[in-house]
């Protein structure tokens, strides 16, 4: 049986991974999450999919 601590530990590991990726991206503008999102937003379909995802996040947290 997996408990809450294990689940939270998994999120903590993922947060550390994100921190490592952010540190590695320092001084490399093309390696940041902003560059990633900008790359996706550059494609017409990706742009609207990402905006719909953003809208869903708002609906999920503030309406549903």
């Amino acid at each position: 049986m997996i408990g809450a601590a294990a689940i939270l530990g998994g999120y903590a590991v993922l947060a550390v991974c994100a921190a490592v990726l952010l540190v590695r991206a320092c001084g490399r503008p093309g390696a940041t999450p902003a560059a990633y999102l900008t790359t996706v937003m550059h494609h017409p379909v990706g742009r609207w999919v990402l905006l719909l995802l953003w809208m869903w996040v708002g609906w999920h947290f503030f309406v549903r």
């Binding site: 997996i2 408990g3 809450a4 689940i7 939270l8 998994g10 999120y11 993922l14 991974c17 994100a18 990726l21 590695r24 991206a25 490399r28 503008p29 093309g30 390696a31 999450p33 560059a35 990633y36 999102l37 900008t38 790359t39 937003m41 550059h42 017409p44 742009r47 990402l50 905006l51 953003w54 809208m55 996040v57 708002g58 609906w59 999920h60 947290f61 503030f62 309406v63 549903r64």
Partner: protein, 130 residues
């Protein structure tokens, strides 16, 4: 008298936009979920960002990206999604928290919810201008 300097209008517009965004977040943060006012306010915020995105769609900026790092971010995103879906498939929620349930407990209060609305709007604004 000549025409007003173009640049001098921007501080006014920026101030007005920030004021409207803060007021919107303040009001929207006080609305309860599962109500019509919450649905209407979120839809209005979304529509504003979609209109901005529509107006900015024809001016794509050149993109420089690091392919290896983008793959790393994609792998990280897949791992987060997988972990979230795995937690979501388990019950009870108190023993298997999802990112949503963790955030929901942080935005239960009016100030917390208003900050979340402001962050959501700011992210949409940023995305729409890419």
């Amino acid at each position: 008298m000549g025409a007003p300097i173009e640049g001098s209008r921007w501080p006014w517009r920026a101030t007005a936009l920030v004021t409207v965004a803060l007021a919107y977040a303040g009001v929207a943060g006080g609305l309860r979920p599962f109500t019509w006012p919450a649905a209407v306010s979120t839809t209005l915020g979304g529509l504003a960002i979609f209109i901005l995105a529509w107006r900015h769609r024809a001016t794509p900026a050149p993109v420089r990206h690091d392919r290896g790092q983008l793959l790393a971010w994609t792998a990280w995103l897949a791992a987060v999604t997988g972990w979230e879906l795995w937690a979501l498939s388990m019950t009870p929620r108190s023993r298997h928290p999802t990112i949503s349930s963790l955030i929901n407990s942080a935005i239960e209060t009016h100030p917390g919810r208003s900050i979340a609305v402001l962050a959501w709007l700011a992210l949409g604004w940023w995305l729409a201008r890419r």
